[in-house]
């Protein structure tokens, strides 16, 4: 009986060990696959990724501010639209490495910012870990005269 208990205990310990090892392995695998980022500075408007990329509506400037707030709070990724048209999906803002409904990102939605960050490119997507918001000009892209309130007009 004692031998059986010992065996079960050993089995359980080994299982936990393997489970732990498995978790550690996953982290190590991620680290091993990690891409070396490039330090860059980007200037552009903070936009909602979904509306801008899919063009399901006009998704820049004041006309789209309210919708951009909805989408950011709804957990859709926020991006910085660079002056050259590159869209950088933001995965971290300064010391906060969360990116779903992040209050800092919601606060700067639609703002024209200059950010310093670590740039990763993988499988057709540009990702940006923002280290510092170097400048923020606020909302300067006045599009409401032409486009009203996107998408419903109210």
């Amino acid at each position: 009986m004692d031998r059986r208990r010992l065996s079960l205990g050993l089995l359980a310990t080994l299982s936990m060990g393997f489970a732990g090892l498995s978790g550690t392995s996953r982290a190590k695998a991620a680290v091993n696959k990690a891409i070396k980022p490039k330090r860059i500075q980007v200037t552009g408007e903070v936009v909602d990724t979904w509306c801008y990329i899919t063009e399901i509506m006009f998704a820049q400037g004041t006309a789209h501010y309210q919708c951009a707030i909805w989408c950011a709070l709804g957990g859709i990724p926020v991006s910085v639209l660079g002056k050259d048209g590159t869209v950088y999906m933001v995965l971290r803002v300064e010391d906060d490495d969360t990116s779903v409904a992040n209050p800092k990102l919601i606060t700067i939605q639609t703002n024209e910012v200059t950010v310093d960050g670590d740039h990763y490119v993988r499988d057709g997507v540009n990702y940006l870990m923002v280290n510092k918001i170097a400048d923020n000009k606020g909302i300067i892209n006045l599009t409401q005269e032409e486009y009203g309130i996107q998408p419903f007009g109210n």
Partner: protein, 172 residues
């Protein structure tokens, strides 16, 4: 009689299968897709900074395909909502994701409509955000969550609908 039963069963199975099939949304570059992949924390995958449980729903999640392609899942099946609430329960697990693969040259992305665990899972519609929002807001219906969310109301009250206090909508 047996033939009728078998035919009926096949019809029911067929109907069940199509019930979870993705629908087109008319977006440029979209393709209906049903893929098997692992759910990963994108920031972890890129940088090796890997908190527990893919960041507990506070980080953007993606699908890591068998060919090592990483695709961000940016949208679910509800209005103005992402898919993290739908995917977080699958952190580091293999799932079958049904939805739209959008290979836009500006950014590849996936819009999730249904999902299930790859092994023995049951199809779930990607509408977890609304359920969670409703629970967090006293059981209110989530259909217009974006109009009723207290954070939205506070921000629009403070900044206005255009984000600039005092800027009024154009006269009709």
């Amino acid at each position: 009689m047996r033939k009728i039963l078998i035919s009926t069963a096949l019809l029911v199975i067929g109907a069940m299968a199509t019930a979870e099939a993705a629908e087109e949304w008319g977006i440029e570059f979209e393709k209906k897709a049903r893929v098997e992949a692992k759910v990963v924390d994108i920031a972890c995958e890129l940088s090796g900074n890997c908190p527990k449980n893919c960041g507990d729903g506070k980080r953007q999640l993606g699908l890591l395909m068998d060919d090592d392609k990483l695709v961000p899942v940016v949208k679910n099946f509800e209005a103005f909502t992402g898919a993290t609430n739908d995917l977080i329960k699958y952190c580091s697990k293999r799932i079958v994701a049904d939805g739209l693969m959008i290979d836009n040259p500006k950014m590849s992305m996936f819009a999730l409509q249904f999902s299930k665990l790859a092994k023995g899972g049951k199809w779930t519609r990607a509408n977890q955000f609304g359920k969670d929002w409703s629970k967090a807001n006293g059981g209110k219906a989530s259909g217009q969550w974006f109009r009723n969310d207290p954070r939205v109301i506070a921000l629009i009250k403070k900044n206005g609908v255009f984000g600039i206090p005092g800027l009024k909508p154009p006269a009709e």
